[in-house]
Point group: C2
Chain length 417, copies 2
């Protein structure tokens, strides 16, 4: 049946009972004839405990030491899953990042994978061993333990699948990718397939099912990626002959999606904050004067809107930053007030970015216009707009989030029958 | 001032405050001009938690996976201590067993060190880096993580000191080696020096200050070993010029001990249990018939006494095993009852082995006789005796433990002035 990388997150391996459940999923795939590698996260809560110890040790801890400390979480889980699999009669062993040789650069806590020695793993898998790999970690050229940044286990899994030329099943606490957040819109539907490009937009726009980096990697290496739930009963899911894919959502090339909707999903993010710089002189270089100091302070700016006064002499510049960066952004601007020459600053943390995403938008006119009309007809004011080829995002007052999502979900025909 | 390996056990690194205290001890030695490596155990309790997870995963867990899981405890401590040292302005980094290359054989959970690549460490230490090394662990020829067995961090420290040609300070929760257990005998004195041979006997006879293997290793490689308390105030102890050794107990070559006592210390162990095999035929091969099946069941037998009946035809054989092995020993013998041909078995877990230890016993006659007299005069019955060149051990009823220790401590002039 081919090679398969299965990835299980922290809540799926939170205790030994859940690890047993994970092992049953693995067993099902082994018995279906697959060669299986498993990538695991730390048991839920353990990473936070370890981070807390680092912080207690020093507010300004060495990130290389942090990596060595935090990487132990995944190491423990991989050993425990190997033991449980063996207990079920399945040949298995654990592998740390350095044992596999998941080679990364030296960027502690934010390392990028450069190469994976997959030959040894491939041999072991061919010989019937389930390779249980500690996710989120690698080894630097200096032979130190590195981590890939939070959520990096998804990236580990996809990178391994790429190296092993395997497909990749990401098991999580939801059973797939939905048209929008089902906690807000009851009629949200699970998508059976979604293209890499769309998933990438959804992920970066706030849908927290998959990490953006892992989707990018899957897209580049054409790794078929399935999102499914580890809480599904592991033995009730028959493996359909000729179809390796189960009941989750498949993230794949757009050619593999037969019935393409115009809008596939609606994402939202409450992590944005709005800043307005009032009454600046509208002259060349003014944007640079505002945004250069923010860039120097390592603050990412997302949406930007500029309104020029009727006489063309002054402008108001509005933009969004991550809500965590808001205080820093304001103080950076205040300390450059004279240089920029603005009259006043306004900031608002209580805004939401709502986005419609769909590959069909490329070939259909009027999709964005429908969005604006719909919001207007519900009395929702649009504070800013950005677009790309396959998405349109608007910034609205946070209080209107649910109303916006529900009305857009209906107007784009996404409500479940 | 030379090279120094400092070792801190689990209670000394139980939380971040205690790790800070450890760092102050390290700082003192660095500021005195020493090149320092530090070996640390897991934070108190963590190893037990990890062992418990393994047991939950399977009653019959793979010891190689156990090693990979349990070794994370020391890895976390080494990282945390490195962070705390850096925070105090001391150059430091952590090293796992595989990073150092503490090479061991493949015996999972009971690995023996074969070689340590000390060159890299020596270079780093010479360049002013404190090397914080995760104790208890190494790496097998198959590149898997191994552990040295419980208490193995002492062994790690001594092996590193041997490889680095350094002296070794073992910090623990007691401030040295005492003539006997001060919790039982109030007059017990701290020894300023004790020979390797005596310490080895004391350790194997139940004095739990140092692990037997680490003392053996120190003796073979002539590593000067100091036992001292991590709870001493780290800054109040001046480093005496010309004397690298502080206020603990120095374990060293006997030539370095000027005033040699006849008896240096009195050890005891409650971990023994007594088995008597009654009424076996006293013929050649009977000992083998009894002890071979026990050896095959991996049970160590310590003291052996054989009493032959007046007619010389039958004998009772009494011996001791570790109390944990008692049930297995009895069932092994019962299942060989016909082959051995005994009448009945008796077993008693409530016995204590009391031992006097001293290099002076080699050259002084009558030392053991004094022991027997003293015990007899206090009405204590001796159940078995074993001797070596520098120790005499007796087995007595557990109820008499304290009385025996106190009376022997007095008769050999060990009571503190």
């Amino acid at each position: 049946m081919g090679r398969l990388v299965m990835k299980f997150g922290g809540t799926s391996v939170a205790d030994i009972d859940r690890i047993r459940n994970v092992a049953l999923h693995v067993k099902r795939e082994v018995e279906a004839g697959n060669e299986v590698a498993v990538v695991v996260s730390a048991m839920a809560g353990r990473t936070d405990e370890l981070v807390d110890l680092c912080r207690q040790a020093s507010a300004d801890y060495d990130r290389r030491e942090y990596d060595s400390i935090v990487a132990t979480g995944e190491q423990v889980t991989s050993g425990l899953l190997a033991i449980v699999l063996q207990d079920m009669g399945i040949k298995a062993r654990s592998w740390t990042g350095w044992q596999v040789q998941v080679k990364t650069n030296s960027a502690a806590s934010a390392a990028r994978i450069s190469e994976i020695d997959s030959e040894r793993l491939a041999d072991e898998m061919a010989a019937g061993q389930v390779c249980v790999i500690a996710g989120f970690q690698g080894v630097s050229p200096e032979n130190r333990i590195t981590t890939l940044g939070r959520g990096g286990s998804d990236t580990s899994a996809v990178a391994l699948a790429a190296a092993l030329e395997a497909r990749c099943d990401i098991y999580t606490d939801v059973d797939g990718v939905y048209t929008t957040d089902p906690r807000i819109v009851k009629q949200a539907k699970k998508l059976s397939r979604i293209s890499y490009e769309e998933m990438l937009e959804m992920a970066s726009l706030g849908a927290k099912v998959l990490q953006t980096r892992s989707v990018e990697l899957a897209m580049v290496y054409k790794v078929p990626l399935q999102v499914r739930s580890s809480f599904d009963p592991p033995n009730d899911i028959p493996v359909v002959p000729g179809n390796n894919f189960g009941p989750g959502t498949l993230v794949c090339d757009e050619e593999l999606i037969v019935e393409q909707e115009v809008v596939s999903g609606i994402a939202y993010s409450r992590d944005e904050a709005k800043v307005t710089v009032r009454h600046v002189k509208d002259k060349p270089g003014i944007s640079a004067a505002i945004f250069r100091p923010l860039a120097d302070a390592n603050i990412s700016v997302d949406m930007i809107v500029q309104n020029v006064s009727p006489d063309g002499e002054f402008a108001n510049v509005t933009f969004t930053v991550m809500v965590n960066d808001l205080d820093t952004a304001v103080s950076v601007l205040e300390s450059n007030k004279e240089k920029i020459g603005f009259e006043s600053l306004e900031s608002a943390p209580n805004v939401t970015k709502v986005s419609i995403v769909g590959i069909g938008m490329r070939s259909h006119a009027g999709v964005a216009a429908t969005m604006f009309d719909t919001l207007a007809s519900h009395g929702i004011n649009i504070l800013a707009i950005t677009t790309s080829e396959i998405k349109t995002s608007v910034l609205i007052d946070e209080d209107y989030t649910e109303l916006a999502l529900r009305s857009l979900h209906t107007v784009y025909d996404l409500d479940a029958a």
